[in-house]
Symmetry: C2
Subunit: 439 residues, 2 copies
């Protein structure tokens, strides 16, 4: 199925859920200050002026600079499903703010003049960043559409939470990672996923005919996006209507297990496996296992398809501090206040990483020597760092050696993290080295 | 504009937001146990079976018995806007449960055999009910789709919160209830609302050509509903696209101030006035003035139109305990833990009631001698009771003499409260008399 057969309105609505990099206007993008969504006045007033509206008649709500507003407001545009924090009191985060961090200097990847940590935030269109060192908040900043009481789209950071839940089930013996997908989800037997193992799905080494190249009108992502849209479909629409229906149509291409290829549909398959295995939706399971256990300050939520399936590959919106709580729990191997929330093996498996040779074939220049395991990016650097990463600059970056967790929400004009990695990955490394040895 | 010119898909999507009583299947409705949404298996499984799906392809999601699931899940079907509880710890509700309440007996309105309080709950398809006496929880039950950690559509109870916010602004001198609407919202100058006063809007005594009779295909509610829908409109749609645009089209009929007529559009005008007056959306204002101040356990939310306007006339979903906190705050005239959250005059004005002669002309047989003020129903009974009321059985019922607050969520097959009033209003009165004189 190509764009030619998918009503464009449907396809766009879904594509935007994926954080698609829609064609940008010509010329350099506005910088962070000039594109600030509050300063630009999006959606202010009752009603907002026509040229400041971002809403459902406007299928372009994820184009820059509008996306700088949209990343904090997905639920106002789309149906969503809650991840409940429960009803208890939030668990306060201890603070030990370090005023020296802003002046920290580092050299961007690929060379260029050294820059300060503070300058990098604007360069990366950071909407919120929080750093935990030894479990204490040493740095916290908000900008753009976000504040401490708001939530922000986590984009593909979502994948890593899906992966964590799956790794927990594997570690608990409830999910066999060597099982073939068809044995768990018979509906996928005839698809490319049917004879892949759970592990190949979790490492994204499945051999599938699926392109996320938005510049190609024949890319499968358009049909996927149309299927994923929760909005009513046109009367003449004949394609798949849900994530699950779309996944069953994915055809094989190449062999499973040979090369890492970052394709969101793998995560949606994994989300399906997790839901079928536990009998709980991803949102309910994430609440039960994590969100209601960490003293979260805010409910999180997922965008959903037309039958309420949470978007396992990118649907999460959450508060920055709560994402930091999740990161700390992972750094601590599942322990919180002396209580074990999940087996340490779940994180150990992620930290050990995936198939590095398979990963190398994908050619990620910013993550040379890395791997992908349980839907986490593993750097295999001397600090043992690993990360959840989402388009436009979202991350949970965990540095075990420095006992550091960085969580960042951002709204970079370019979707691909290759655009912000040069001024963020070395900044995290410099901060880790700065924090090493501090009490 | 009639149904003939409004695409039916759009109209239905919006109409369902209003809690429209769509034509029911022939024969008596399933009882509460037989229509239990969990027992019926709606939306269970990954994916749910086709005959258990309730989603966007199905424009009938607010028909009985599906509505018994939908009332807890509006956000999964529609875009919504949050009412933040803030980030603090919830304020615990004190408990003093009274096991004697279930056996309390009363005689239904209109006669019939006496029935027990407990039996009335099932008869009324109650999803959750909580009673505060002197600020302590003496009764709490959940059923159907609801539990203590869930939220439920408040339907037109929403109106009373819009009205409370407006009464607060009046009491604070920020809103002149004698002002003409056109002086506050110039966009409404040419509409029927233009030369009405704010008070006439707040008492729903405006003279407007607007019918909410869903059995009439020419009723204005269909065009209103199409305008209100947040879903993308068909390419050939030419009508108003937002609440605000629709309100500007309402034509006059009759004279302002003569008769009470329960028409939701009045509340949407009031919501517009409140937002324009304060510079805050209803959701943000409700959070700032109430939700973040009462120690709420959960965020609430509103459904929105295509430009994010919260549905002032019926869009709220909230937790039962939080609605009880709101009711207690109102009973206490704006005081909480020794702090004044809003002027006592705001509640005094509501309790004093509206124009009883104007109200009588509407012929509400269950509320003879009553009135409507600040979007609250005032019974003018010996206990001074007043209530927020929403279709299918939602209520905040406040009895000042008995120092009692009853909050109830329900999913009665019939929308009109005339269907559940006979077995609920006398139950509340019996409970009030039972509680009178208790410590």
């Amino acid at each position: 199925m190509s764009l030619l057969t998918v009503p464009r309105r449907c396809a766009l609505a879904g594509a935007l859920l994926l954080g698609a990099a829609l064609p940008a206007a010509a010329g350099p993008a506005l910088d962070a200050a000039a594109s600030d969504p509050v300063a630009l006045g999006w959606m202010q007033g009752f009603p907002p002026p026509d040229d400041k509206l971002i809403g459902q008649p406007d299928a372009n709500y994820f184009s820059f600079p509008k996306l700088r507003w949209t990343v904090c407001h997905f639920r106002e545009l789309l149906p969503t499903k809650r991840v409940s924090r429960g009803l208890g009191a939030p668990r306060p985060l201890p603070y030990a703010l370090d005023a020296g961090i802003d002046a920290l200097r580092f050299t961007p990847l690929g060379g260029g003049a050294p820059m300060s940590w503070a300058d990098a935030l604007a360069a990366n269109y950071t909407d919120g960043i929080l750093v935990l060192h030894k479990g204490r908040v040493v740095y916290e900043r908000y900008a753009g559409c976000l504040d401490e009481a708001g939530v922000h789209g986590a984009m593909s950071v979502t994948k890593s939470l899906t992966g964590l839940l799956a790794e927990i089930l594997v570690a608990e013996g409830r999910l066999d990672e060597q099982a073939q997908v068809a044995s768990l989800i018979p509906e996928l037997a005839a698809s490319a996923f049917g004879n892949a193992t759970v592990q190949q799905v979790m490492e994204m080494t499945t051999g599938i005919a699926y392109s996320e190249d938005y510049s190609d009108p024949n890319a499968e992502v358009w049909a996927y996006s149309a299927a994923a849209s929760p909005l009513p479909k046109p009367a003449d629409y004949r394609g798949p209507r849900t994530y699950y229906q779309y996944l069953a149509t994915v055809r094989p291409e190449g062999r499973h297990g040979e090369a890492f290829a970052y394709k969101t549909v793998n995560t949606d398959v994994l989300g399906w496996i997790v839901a079928r295995t536990t009998g709980q939706s991803l949102t309910d399971l994430l609440s039960a296992r994590i969100w209601s256990r960490i003293g979260a300050e805010q409910d999180a939520y997922y965008t959903v398809d037309s039958i309420g399936t949470p978007f396992a590959g990118g649907g999460l919106s959450a508060g920055l501090r709560d994402l930091a709580r999740v990161g700390q729990l992972i750094l601590d191997g599942g322990m919180l206040d002396g209580e074990r929330l999940f087996p340490a093996a779940a994180v150990e498996r992620i930290r050990a990483g995936g198939d590095r040779a398979a990963f190398a074939r994908a050619g990620y220049r910013q993550i040379l020597g890395g791997s992908y395991r349980g839907m986490w990016w593993v750097f295999h650097n001397p600090h043992g760092a690993f990360a959840a990463r989402g388009v436009h600059g979202q991350t949970i970056y965990i540095d075990p050696r420095a006992e550091m967790v960085v969580v960042r929400f951002a709204s970079h004009p370019q979707a691909a993290n290759a655009a912000n990695d040069p001024t963020s990955l070395p900044a995290y490394q410099a901060l880790a080295e700065y924090l090493l040895g501090k009490p």
